[in-house]
């Protein structure tokens, strides 16, 4: 096995590794992180309206 071939193999290996990392990151973000953040954001929005109303504020319909 020449040195060049060896290099190519490790390149391929790190490449596979990198691809898996990217996929994992993408999966984490769109399946877990952003949905959770969205739900918190919507919940927070609801909470703010609730609090404004609780303290007697009027929300236009």
């Amino acid at each position: 096995m020449t040195a060049k071939q060896l290099n190519k193999d490790t390149d391929k290996q790190t490449g596979e590794n990198k691809k898996r990392k990217e996929l994992k990151a993408l999966g984490f973000i769109i399946v877990v992180l952003f949905p959770v953040l969205s739900i918190f954001a919507i919940g927070g929005y609801g909470l703010i309206i609730w609090l404004i109303q609780a303290f007697g504020g009027v929300i236009p319909h």
Partner: protein
């Protein structure tokens, strides 16, 4: 932490192997799935099946609804729970869903899981719901009902008159139509929760020799620890606290009584029928409970009145330091309750002895618990032409 660092390193650089196309496509698809899923889930909590999934909702409000016109009627349109109890606009709906977290709490801790618990909290829950309707002028009703679409000719003369007046002001429907879909809470026996919320329950420590005012109608006792009642002390009455012991205070009550029968009713002033306290017959006859002083004859009725003083015990609660908050609450209640149906007369339009008859004649038309009734009546008497000099 290392995991997070790795993740950040990957995210912080342009993707080397994933194409921009695949990333944006998956993001787009996930966005659609999330938003669709989220709204589907919200929608699922907005169905009647979901509402009556809890036993307490199924066994009480749902059963009560089935006896009303909102359940079945000649047009075949019916209202479901969320039609009236969840706002229809998106933002408010989300806010209401957040509020419902307290319902989950109540479900978890079994707040209203039995008939008795439900009934004892009915007024509180109904008041909260009325508050919601008040806040947006009964928008929940007006999602279906519309003043402009009402056919006046089909209404009775009285209904027309009331409805047209309401339409002019775009009045909130539940101002009058309380208890149309569920059983009305028993207002007559409840102890004025809204009044107490406004004026408070009073101090925990009392200064001897200081004047206090009753925030509710209170029981009177012969001693600091006995159970024998000596009568009742009317709301908004001024008493002087003499001493505190255990959970009771001894109060001095001054007033006038009519010299007839046992003379067990004590009034505020000579010749004026404003209730201060009503003693039991036993208390009124007992030696040394009521101390009588000078007597005067009322020319109007020919009755003899006697100035009296008595000292009795009452629970050390609902005695507040100022009278004005009571009058403020009574004035607001008088104005809002009475103006629902007619222009309310000025307080000073009648004198202190005419108001009780007037007031009692109208009381059947409004929902007012007994404490609030007594308070409003006393407010009217106190601000009648008898005491307020700019007369009619």
């Amino acid at each position: 932490m290392k995991w997070f660092k790795n993740l950040w390193q990957t995210l912080n650089k342009p993707a080397k192997y994933l194409t921009l196309g695949s990333i944006s496509l998956t993001a787009f698809i996930m966005g659609v799935i999330f938003w669709g899923g989220f709204n589907t889930a919200i929608q699922a909590t907005n169905t009647e099946e979901f509402c009556i999934g809890c036993h307490s909702m199924e066994s009480k409000p749902y059963q009560e609804l089935q006896k009303t016109v909102h359940w079945s009627n000649h047009s075949g349109v019916r209202a479901t729970c969320p039609d009236c109890h969840v706002p229809h606009s998106w933002g408010r709906k989300i806010a209401r869903k957040m509020e419902a977290s307290s319902d989950v709490w109540g479900w978890f801790f079994k707040t209203v899981n039995t008939d008795e618990k439900f009934e004892s909290k009915r007024l509180e829950m109904a008041s909260r719901e009325w508050g919601r309707f008040d806040r947006d002028d009964s928008l929940a009703c007006k999602n279906c009902h519309n003043y402009d679409s009402m056919k006046w000719e089909d209404m009775s003369k009285l209904a027309q008159k009331q409805m047209k007046r309401a339409a002019e002001k775009d009045q909130s429907c539940v101002d009058c139509h309380k208890g149309i879909a569920h059983i009305l809470p028993d207002m007559g026996t409840a102890r004025a929760p809204e009044l107490i919320a406004e004026v408070g329950t009073g101090p925990s420590k009392f200064d001897a020799g200081q004047d206090y005012f009753t925030a509710l109608t209170k029981p009177l006792f012969f001693s600091s620890n006995g159970d024998v009642e000596a009568g009742t002390l009317n709301v908004a009455t001024k008493v002087k606290v003499l001493e505190s012991k255990d959970n009771r205070v001894k109060v001095a009550i001054n007033g006038w009584r009519k010299k007839m029968g046992a003379g067990r009713v004590i009034y505020l002033e000579f010749g004026i029928n404003m209730l201060t306290a009503q003693l039991t017959k036993d208390a009124a006859r007992a030696e040394g409970v009521i101390n009588g002083f000078e007597e005067k004859e009322d020319d109007m009725t020919g009755l003899k009145w006697q100035r009296v003083e008595t000292e009795l015990w009452t629970d050390a609660e609902y005695l507040i330091t100022e009278q004005q908050p009571l009058w403020d609450y009574a004035r607001d209640t008088f104005r809002s309750s009475c103006s629902v149906c007619h222009t309310q007369p000025d307080e000073a339009h009648f004198d202190a002895n005419t108001w009780p008859g007037m007031f009692q004649g109208m009381i059947a038309f409004v929902n007012m618990d007994q404490d609030t009734q007594a308070l409003v009546q006393k407010y009217l008497q106190q601000h009648s032409s008898t005491f307020v000099k700019e007369k009619h």
